[in-house]
């Protein structure tokens, strides 16, 4: 058989099949890990389908019944030592297993711990990455099991709180070998949907194995890569699959998730009205206080009754004028008294009294009183003042 095939010298099917078989045989013995997707036993042989938990790829595995030992539950994690076996007859490939080991719970938990540290090291669990949920989501994406209690809870609670909420539900397997891949697919679909601004992944309670898909590395990375905020509501309160650590918000239960994502609109409206009422009352109170203050100022006499100014002035004036009058009266009296006194003295000093007793005063023309006869020359005119009247006389 020449080395190369060509259109002129094609190889027969058996040759090609044999060559493929040789190539495949070159892989040799391998240890492979996967999740048991199917198991059927016929006679002394077991036929398994081993599936990669993180990818939609599986391989057929055959082994003798005693190699498998006691029956294995679907979804169980297995580690198999096998060789590739190419069945020439039909050109089919399967792994011939010589040893099948179950991955125990302890091993699984240890694996989770390692994965957790890996994710943490990459900063995927960093709180700073957590995004806040939108206060009022325009569209809520829900990834959950078909007609599951979780789906029911999320839908009824969110619609109860806000009848206007729009929910897009993607149902998928939430346990078993296909769960992780299906959830990843659903989450990516919702993440791409521009109308969805929050994604909730909800699942009811379940055993450790049931919840294992939600600690799957690929799923955790898919959630971490989401642009849309993700809320994980997996299992009951104590359950914390790795997805809880990667999601933006961890809700204890599906109902709790609905409460965190959808505000209670009636409650919000009521709070709004309360706030508006309080603001208005505070302001009205302020205006009232200012009004009272202003009224107080305006009622002060100085302002309210300006006449008081004039009245004050008038009373002052009145008091002053009274005093003035009194002092004048007083002075007049005093003056009158002085006058009397003075006139009394004048009267006393004045010759009138003497004249009235018959005496007379002789004066020169110029009014000088003649005191000495010698002063007068004969024929000089003199005035003689009597008690009543005067005489003009000529001296002899």
């Amino acid at each position: 058989m020449n080395e190369r095939s060509s259109p002129d010298a094609p190889w027969p099917v058996r040759t090609v099949a044999r060559k493929i078989g040789e190539w495949i045989g070159k892989l040799g013995e391998v240890w492979v890990e996967g999740q048991l997707a199917q198991l059927s036993t016929r006679g002394n042989s077991c036929y398994l389908v081993l599936r990669d938990p993180a990818a939609d790829i599986s391989l057929a595995v055959t082994c003798r019944r005693d190699v498998l030992g006691e029956p294995v539950a679907e979804g169980a994690r297995l580690i198999v030592r096998a060789r590739p076996d190419f069945f020439l007859g039909r050109g089919t490939l399967s792994l011939r297993a010589s040893e099948v080991r179950r991955v125990g719970i302890g091993e699984l938990l240890a694996r989770l711990q390692r994965l957790r540290q890996l994710l943490a090291a990459e900063g995927l669990l960093d709180p700073a990455r957590k995004r806040a949920l939108p206060f009022l989501p325009r569209g809520l994406g829900l990834v959950t099991g078909r007609a599951s209690a979780a789906e029911h809870d999320v839908l009824t609670v969110s619609r109860g709180r806000w009848p206007g909420v729009r929910v897009r539900v993607l149902n998928c397997a939430v346990q078993g070998p296909n769960a992780a891949a299906e959830v990843i697919d659903a989450v990516r679909k919702l993440d791409r949907d521009a109308d969805i601004d929050v994604i909730v992944i909800a699942r009811g309670g379940g055993s450790m194995e049931d919840l294992l898909p939600f600690s799957d590395e690929a799923l955790c990375r898919a959630v971490a890569a989401c642009a849309t905020p993700v809320v994980s509501a997996i299992g009951h309160e104590p359950d914390t699959p790795l997805i809880d650590l990667v999601a933006d918000v961890r809700a204890a239960t599906p109902t709790d998730a609905a409460k965190r994502v959808v505000p209670d609109v009636a409650e919000e409206t009521q709070r709004l009205t309360q706030l508006r009422g309080r603001a208005l009352r505070a302001l009205t109170g302020r205006v009232d206080t200012e009004q009272r203050g202003l009224a107080g100022l305006r009622s002060r006499p100085a302002l309210a009754d300006p006449a008081v100014l004039v009245r004050l002035r008038r009373t002052d004036l009145h008091a002053l004028s009274e005093r003035a009058a009194r002092s004048i009266a007083h002075r007049l009296d005093a003056a009158a008294a002085d006058l009397d006194h003075a006139s009394a003295r004048v009267a006393a000093l004045s010759p009138a009294a003497t004249l009235s007793r018959g005496y007379a005063v002789v004066q020169h023309i110029d009014g000088h009183v003649v005191a000495d006869a010698a002063e007068v020359r004969s024929g000089q005119r003199l005035l003689v003042r009597l008690a009543a009247g005067r005489l003009a006389v000529t001296a002899e």
Binding site: T273, L280, T284, L297, A302, P306, L309, R313
Partner: protein
């Protein structure tokens, strides 16, 4: 309203607080007395103008509040 002696701004231009504070000062000075009759009258007129300005502001505030009264409820969202 005659221009008050210290040439302060017309009452309507003052802020509410300024008008109210000056009003309080006017009342204090009027009550303290010791002013000429003319100054007292001028001061009194100033006080009235200030009081009127304050009242206008308060009425305006109350009217604006009344416009936002809570019973005028916004539509349910």
């Amino acid at each position: 309203m005659s221009e008050p002696s210290e040439g302060s701004r017309p009452a309507v231009e003052l802020s509410y607080e300024q008008a109210r504070d000056e009003l309080a000062e006017v009342v204090r000075r009027l009550e303290a007395g010791g002013l000429t009759l003319e100054d007292s009258l001028t001061l009194w007129e100033r006080g009235e103008a200030l009081a009127a300005a304050c009242q206008v502001r308060l009425d305006g505030a109350r009217e604006r509040l009344a416009r936002q009264a809570p019973d005028e409820e916004p539509g349910q969202s």
